[in-house]
Symmetry: C2
Subunit: 197 residues, 2 copies
């Protein structure tokens, strides 16, 4: 199998998604982000609304636990598992860039997988959130921290690892170096690792 | 000023020093590691033995604190400050790669400074420690962990930051990708950032 996968985990507002998108385009391979994975998950029979509700969200309330104790598996777990299966199938089928969804963890035993984490200073992320993502929150910094907290908590819940810990990734990079600089660097790295053979 | 500096922090046995040495050689700039900094610190009047004793070691024992309470500054602090001054002078004078000595912290306000952290799996580090560094410890993994603990503790003592925390670095990379692959990547990154202008 000559497929390879680049997984991108990212702090909110770091520009990790756009780096992943540009990287895939430069490498001429497919790109899957949260929206694309949600779309694919609909094929498993879940409604769009349910998937969106439970993406990057884990079961946490006691009442919810109580309510679902009679069910086979919590909906959040079912959706996570469906998406994990999608990530595994994509990795089997084609070279691609996958953003989010704990793909680094799902594909941890895949040899030809480069696991990337993108972060940035809070200032840069707040700027990007306001100017590019058009976030209207009163407290943008608070919104960013809250979003990362949810991502971290979701990641820990399903992987038992700490989100952002360097040991889960091959490379962690501050997008403050420049979105294009980081993309160029990753293109060269992928060429060196998987496309010289 | 068109100087730039690459600082390399590294887990013990990760090959960070050799990556730094190769990087400097490829970029045609100077290379300063612990030994070179020690040598330069001798010019401040400290003996070689004293410098070696207090490098990557911080004042921690209560008795020592008591003993040195009458002195102007603990020897460890004096040596750290002397080496910090050397790092600042080098950064002013020339482009270079500097390994260790909290140089990332010392030069945190320098615009043209790329701060790199190199790590690796414990297995790879143990292999390198035995085969390349010829470490004879009975418990190599224990020796590695102990050495990193000392580095982390020294770093935290002088910088108040957490050693290895991604926010202290522009890029953190697992040398398991390959010493040459990582070196090539850093050469390209430096070219993109500082040598295209």
């Amino acid at each position: 199998m000559s497929n390879y996968v680049v997984t991108i985990s990212r702090e909110y507002g770091s520009g990790g998604r756009i780096i992943g998108k540009n990287l895939a385009s430069r490498l001429g391979i497919s790109f899957y982000d949260k929206e694309m994975l949600n779309l694919l998950a609909e094929e498993s029979g879940f409604s769009k609304a349910i998937i969106e509700e439970w993406t990057e969200k884990k079961t946490s309330s006691f009442l919810y636990e109580l309510y679902t104790a009679t069910q086979e598996k919590p909906i959040s777990d079912q959706i996570f598992l469906a998406k994990t299966k999608i990530v595994q199938d994509l990795a089997q089928k084609e070279s691609c860039v996958i953003v989010g969804n704990c793909a680094d963890y799902t594909l941890q035993d895949m040899d030809r997988c480069l696991r990337v984490f993108i972060y940035a200073s809070l200032e840069e992320r707040a700027y990007r959130a306001e100017k590019e993502y058009k976030i209207q929150a009163r407290d943008v910094a608070g919104f960013i921290k809250q979003t990362d907290k949810k991502r971290g908590s979701y990641y820990s819940h399903y992987t038992m690892n700490k989100w952002g810990d360097r040991h889960n990734y091959d490379i962690s990079v501050d997008s403050g170096l420049g979105i294009d600089v980081v993309t160029d660097m990753l293109v060269s790295l992928v060429h060196a690792m998987y496309e010289r053979e």
